[in-house]
Amino acid sequence: MPVIVVEVMPKAELLDPAGKAVATALAKRGDGEFTAVRIGKRFELHVDEVTDAVLAKAQHLAEELLSNAVIENVVRVYAAEDAVA
């Protein structure tokens, strides 16, 4: 079943306390080569068929509902063969 993937990230200038906590945990494990972690969102929108119209609608929804432009950026909207999991 094809899906449309929407990736959303918090704006770079905003605090990401969850990402910071993970980065701290990595450093404590001795995995300090990962100097920072930022956590975003991945939406998988299931569709019967990927068309230009449905992709355009997904892009619109990504900007209007799935993200808030004040605090987040839509990184990517793309069609994939199947859900990840």
Partner: protein
């Protein structure tokens, strides 16, 4: 004649009953409204209460802003009906684009619950005209995602046009830009704030004041203001 003020209950609303009680204490009739309806039942004003609608999924207030009744509320607000958003209700107003900016996780990363001093910055709105500009009031604040942000241009407009309704005094509990605790729209009928005026409306259950424990009732003025404005408009 008694003013009728609606309170919308969303899945996950927490303070809807408290808001109804505050409305009754202020002298109006509280009308329970349901998120799934398209009916405002002819109310004179609406309160969007605090809580955690839809478990704060997606973003705080984002899913509630899509609720059926929000179509009617946005239309009524644009036509001048007074709307007050408290805490999650403020987040819903922002997500519904009735107020600008966004609300993000508190700067300290922790939920904050305290009696908060606020300065009234705009005493001309439907919900604040019973105050004097510059009044210091105390109402409880309790949120995890109350940090107000907006881009520089929006912030400049809010400050320049007097659209900041309330500002935090002494302590900025959540890292809000310019200490902004609440906003109004240009028309002054839509007001949103993170602190909870409905929790400061009944002696014995409000915030502490210098005169007595739990005696603070500064929140009553919000509801009395809108009642007066509503009845004056008839």
């Amino acid at each position: 004649m008694t003013a009728r003020i609606g309170v919308v209950t969303f899945p996950g609303s927490l303070d809807d009953r408290d808001a109804q009680r505050a409305i009754r204490l202020a002298g109006a009739e509280a009308v329970a409204l349901w998120h799934g309806d398209h009916d405002l039942q002819g109310v004179d004003a609406v309160v969007l209460p605090g809580g955690f609608s839809y478990g704060d999924y997606l973003r705080c207030g984002a899913i509630a802003a899509q609720a059926p009744i929000m179509h009617e509320i946005v239309a009524a607000a644009n036509a001048g009906m007074p709307v007050l958003g408290i805490c999650n209700g403020f987040q819903i107003l922002v997500e519904a684009h009735l107020l600008p900016g966004g609300l993000i996780r508190n700067e300290a990363g922790a939920f904050v619950c305290r009696d908060q001093t606020l300065r009234v910055e705009n005493a001309t709105t439907a919900w604040t005209h019973g105050f004097e500009q510059g009044d210091l009031i105390t109402v409880p604040l309790k949120n995890g995602e109350g940090g107000f942000i907006a881009d520089a241009e929006t912030l400049k407009r809010l400050e320049g046009e007097g659209l900041v309704a309330f500002r935090y005094v002494d302590v900025n509990p959540n890292g809000s830009l310019d200490d902004i605790a609440g906003l109004t729209n240009e028309r002054g009928n839509v007001v949103g704030l993170m602190p909870h005026p409905e929790h400061a409306t009944e002696p014995g259950f409000g915030p502490d004041t210098p005169s007595a424990m739990r005696s603070g009732v500064d929140g009553l003025t919000f509801f009395r203001s809108v009642i007066e404005r509503t009845l004056a408009a008839v």
